[in-house]
Amino acid sequence: MKDNVAVVVRSIEKGSPIVVEGEYMFDACEDIPRGHKVALLALSRGEKIFRYGEPIVETTQDIEPGGWVHVHNTRPISGGT
């Protein structure tokens, strides 16, 4: 599966542009710390998050594009570890 999140290489402030591989995507809808993940598309509750093409967690709430994705709005995938 294609990754639906990206990792920010420096801290991003709310409202600043998210650029992936040279292409403007949208503005960050909240602060995102360096090394953390940003949603690349609208994610609905229970959706799996893919990184390295593999499922790493699932969301516990809807997340907007440009939203911060971490332990506060995801959980380990049930059945996996």
Partner: protein
């Protein structure tokens, strides 16, 4: 594709031509160190065990690691120094090494420390002279066994250094080389994913079993502290699950099928990507791979590990520019340029591949220049 190496009697190829002087038990370390001080060109290796073992398994494991370090194709000749009354014994160890000149000295039989040291210097000097006459000859890259290691990882390891090395690993596999993914502890949480990368369903199950057993062992031994080993300080750095952390580690192996699952310090029988069961402790893990015949190691680091290994070049790949600059002379290549937007993952993977070839052909790594060659190996049972 070819490299220039030293063809050994058993057909394997070394990319270095070292004289190894090694103790069979820690009680003989003083003599080994004295020989090393007199002859800085030998690789003098001391260790903490060789006697007092609490299990047959540990005796066999120790003996396997010490003999196979001497048997590694990067070693052109070996001298074992024993004490005499120990469990492992220099003579027993030397009998297992058949692909090069090997000699032994035993302190209790050969005249005590100072005489044994003088005789050791004589033997090692002769080895150095003999080996200096050997020429490198062309050999295919498929003769390489490349070990992968990561240590002192940071948030950037899984974004820059590891995926770049993954590209290098894919390229090495395409060239027919063997690539060892190690550190079972660092695979915890990714068993269900790695299972699908087995070349056969049986191999997939073997991989899954290996990782699940390791997780069980860590949890049993460490109880509440298990989390410290499985996912140290990662949530703050942005990692949301153990699976995400482990995927960041294993991405350095690329995406080739897994052709074999090896016990600690065993030699691969397959080409391509293989897994070796080693601990997350870098030195013990490298010892397993070198004993398994790895002639070179690619080591990614975020915090800045400076550890090399005896007789084997270790290439240090920095995950971030800040650390690369902060530790001049310790890092061989800076994959932090990927996060800086100055280099693509693909290009960095290719650069690391080219560096592997240069080092293979004789270019010295930072750890070799610094003579950073810590040695230790996995021991499981108690000492008596």
């Amino acid at each position: 594709m070819e490299l220039m190496g030293y063809r050994r009697k058993d057909g394997r190829v070394g990319i270095r031509n070292h004289v190894l002087v090694i103790s069979s038990v820690s009680c003989a370390n003083g003599v080994v160190e004295a020989i090393g001080r007199s002859l800085p060109d030998v690789v003098a290796v001391v260790h903490a065990y060789g006697c007092g073992y609490g299990s047959t398994e540990d005796v066999l494991k120790s003996s396997r690691v010490l003999t196979r370090l001497a048997d590694n194709p990067n070693v052109g000749a070996a001298l074992f120094i024993g004490l005499g009354c120990e469990v492992l014994g220099a003579e027993n160890l030397s009998r297992e090494v058949n692909n090069k000149p090997v000699e032994i000295l035993v302190v209790q039989k050969d005249g005590g420390s100072s005489v044994t040291t003088a005789r050791g210097i004589e033997i090692a000097s002769r080895f150095l002279t003999e080996l200096s006459g050997l020429e490198r000859t062309p050999a295919p890259v498929s003769d390489l066994i490349v070990g992968l290691e990561c240590g002192g990882s940071d948030t950037f390891s899984g974004i820059t250094a590891n995926p770049a090395v993954g590209i290098t690993a894919n390229r090495l596999v395409t060239e027919g080389a063997t690539v060892i993914l190690s550190e079972t502890t660092e695979m915890i949480g990714a068993a269900h994913i790695l299972k699908h990368r087995g070349a056969t369903p049986e191999l997939g199950e073997q991989v899954e079993r290996l990782i699940n057993n390791q997780e069980k062992k860590v949890r049993e031994e460490l109880g509440e502290l298990a989390g410290m080993v499985i996912a140290p300080g990662n949530i703050e750095g942005g990692l949301s699950s153990i699976t995400e952390k482990s995927l960041g580690c294993i991405t350095k192996a690329g995406n080739s099928p897994i052709n074999e699952v090896l016990d600690y310090a065993h030699r691969p029988t397959q080409k391509g990507l293989v897994i070796m069961d080693t601990p997350g402790y870098d030195i013990d893990s490298m010892a397993g791979m070198v004993a398994g015949g790895a002639q070179i190691i690619i080591f990614t680091t975020g915090m800045g590990s400076v550890a090399g290994f005896p007789a084997v070049p270790v290439i240090k790949v920095a995950s971030n520019t800040e650390m690369f600059r902060k530790m001049p002379g310790d890092m061989d290549i800076n994959a932090g340029t990927i996060a800086d937007g100055k280099c693509s993952l693909e290009d960095m993977g290719q650069e690391i591949f080219n560096l592997v070839l240069s080092v293979t052909n004789g270019q010295r790594t930072c750890a070799e220049v610094n003579r950073s060659q810590p040695f230790n190996y996995l021991k499981q049972g108690p000492t008596f």
